[in-house]
């Protein structure tokens, strides 16, 4: 593990370099506009509180290969200097458009190079733009599976394939949820069960199938993407829902204001999240493409959940 000071120095250098590298690496329609704002390496991310907490990064709809992705990736790395997340979860649409070998480089390996160099593992879920064969790509951490589960300390993660919720996956999900005695159960997948997005909105069909299982087995938190913005939903039936599908794509102004679902919305810049689980407390921060902390808070696990 790199020392913190070294990490911070590398973060700043990387943030400065990646902006220029991104411009050079891109071509055609992916090239950022000449008047694109300069990348800032400063971050408002705050250090985690827990000493031995579970710390992770949340990325959604990231695989564009454009300047928005590279700028946001640089901020993720800058945030790592103060909030040293140990792994990253990906909410799908990991690679937009073509999925040639070089696309894995320009849309994943290059923007997240500092994290990969530091052996920070990524655990991806599949979006509707992803070829399911991505599951065989080691750096996506899927172990060859479209849906899978893993645990960090007292936190059990369930990475689902919301594109194709067939009976096999439903059976598997119920089986794994029922077997888990982890304090925290967190699911993540591409399609949001609740959303105020004008372009997509809530995935009611999917919700009717998985939400009863989440409730029955006391799952506390869900992360989703698909909508290209950030939204924290008011708790629904005791479950906390986050949409964080704006880590490269952005659908500016897409959050409908009167759905009654939104606790906090942010749809004017790309963003990502850093999350810490410290005993019975989950703390989250949402950071924008330009390093602003646009949302933060904590969720306390109730004793019976």
């Amino acid at each position: 593990m790199m020392k913190t000071d070294t990490v911070r120095t590398v973060a700043v250098l990387w943030a400065l370099l990646v902006g220029a590298a991104a411009v050079q690496a891109l071509s055609g329609q992916q090239r950022p506009p000449a008047n694109a704002p300069a990348m800032s390496a400063s971050t408002e991310a705050q250090a985690p509180i827990g000493k031995d907490s579970v710390k992770f990064l949340v990325i959604g709809d990231s695989g564009t290969g454009d300047k928005g992705q590279y700028d946001t990736a640089a901020q993720m790395w800058a945030a790592h200097a103060v909030f040293p997340y140990e792994f990253a979860i990906m909410l799908g649409d990991n690679l937009y458009g073509s999925e040639r070998p070089q696309d894995y480089v320009t849309k994943f390996e290059r923007p997240y190079k500092p994290m990969l160099d530091l052996n920070i593992p990524f655990y991806a879920s599949l979006g509707n733009h992803d070829d399911p064969n991505q599951r065989f790509y080691k750096n996506f951490g899927m172990g060859g599976k479209r849906f899978y589960t893993y645990q960090r300390q007292d936190v059990r993660f369930f990475a689902l394939d919301s594109n194709y919720m067939d009976k096999d996956q439903q059976r598997w999900l119920e089986d794994e949820l029922s077997k888990s005695d982890a304090k925290w159960k967190i699911a993540y997948f591409h399609h949001p069960l609740y959303s105020s997005g004008a372009a997509h909105g809530s995935e009611v069909d999917l919700r009717s199938i998985v939400e009863p299982l989440f409730i029955k087995y006391n799952l506390q938190v869900v992360f989703a993407g698909h909508e290209h913005f950030y939204e924290r939903i008011k708790p629904q039936k005791g479950i906390h829902y986050f949409t964080a599908g704006g880590s490269a794509k952005l659908r500016a102004g897409d959050i409908i204001g009167n759905t009654g679902l939104t606790e906090k919305g942010f749809d004017t810049e790309q963003s990502f999240m850093v999350v810490e689980i410290d005993g019975d407390v989950l703390r989250f921060q949402t950071i924008s493409r330009h390093g602003k902390r646009v949302d933060s808070g904590e969720i306390r696990r109730t004793p019976n959940s």
């Binding site: 458009g97 073509s98 999925e99 040639r100 070998p101 696309d103 894995y104 509707n128 733009h129 992803d130 070829d131 399911p132 064969n133 991505q134 065989f136 790509y137 080691k138 750096n139 172990g143 060859g144 919301s162 594109n163 194709y164 919720m165 067939d166 009976k167 096999d168 439903q170 059976r171 119920e174 089986d175 029922s178 399609h191 997509h200 909105g201 995935e203 009611v204 069909d205 999917l206 009717s208 199938i209 009863p212 299982l213 029955k216």
Partner: protein
């Protein structure tokens, strides 16, 4: 692969439901209510479909035996090379395959009815939400590669519950107005059932 005998036709509703595993009671009830009533013709359609799926799997497995195994790799080229090799091998083995090879023509109305009945149960907003995400203006032909630059639209989970189960090698997808069978590992369109999905409701 489970083989359904003719005597099993009467048990088809139970077999279809068995896929719901140990979902809670309300879920099972909802699923049961949403299952189509299976009559003899529908049972025959499912049996014939299963037989054709098994025949396709033989081809798929033969093709798999002819290309290198796909294991976890940090080289994306291995993934794309393998997908392409598997697809090309299957295309060769199925050269001359025609639409309806798996969706048998005489039983196509059964599948169309399942999809259309499902859409009728949905609100206009819900139907529109599904339809607007479907890839449009995409050339859909059997034994061809699904374009890697186009998204795979989410398949409505409640509709998936109503259709016959598929092995993991295959999946249903909606494209434009069509229901397709797609080979997951080879990224191939295996069969097409056209004019299944209506246009966006006004």
């Amino acid at each position: 692969m489970m083989k359904l005998q003719p005597a099993s036709i009467a048990l088809l509703p139970v077999l279809l439901l068995s896929g719901c595993g140990s979902a809670d009671r309300s879920e099972l009830t909802a699923a049961a209510e949403s299952q189509p009533v299976v009559n003899a013709q529908e049972g025959a359609a499912t049996l014939e479909f299963q037989k054709r799926i098994d025949a396709y799997l033989k081809i798929h497995n033969e093709a798999e035996s002819k290309v290198p195994n796909l294991k976890k790799t940090d080289d994306p080229k291995e993934i794309s090379d393998r997908e392409r090799a598997l697809g090309e091998t299957i295309m060769t083995l199925r050269a001359g395959a025609q639409p309806g090879e798996i969706f048998a023509p005489e039983y196509q109305p059964y599948f169309i009815k399942i999809v259309q009945d499902d859409f009728k149960t949905r609100s206009a907003v819900d139907r529109k939400a599904i339809i607007v995400e479907l890839p449009k203006n995409m050339k859909v032909d059997i034994n061809t590669v699904y374009p890697t630059t186009l998204p795979l639209a989410t398949f409505p989970p409640m509709l998936l519950r109503k259709l016959p189960d598929l092995p993991p090698e295959l999946e249903y997808r909606l494209v434009g107005h069509s229901l397709i069978l797609r080979d997951v590992k080879a990224n191939l369109i295996v069969d097409v059932l056209r004019d299944v999905v209506a246009t966006i409701p006004s």
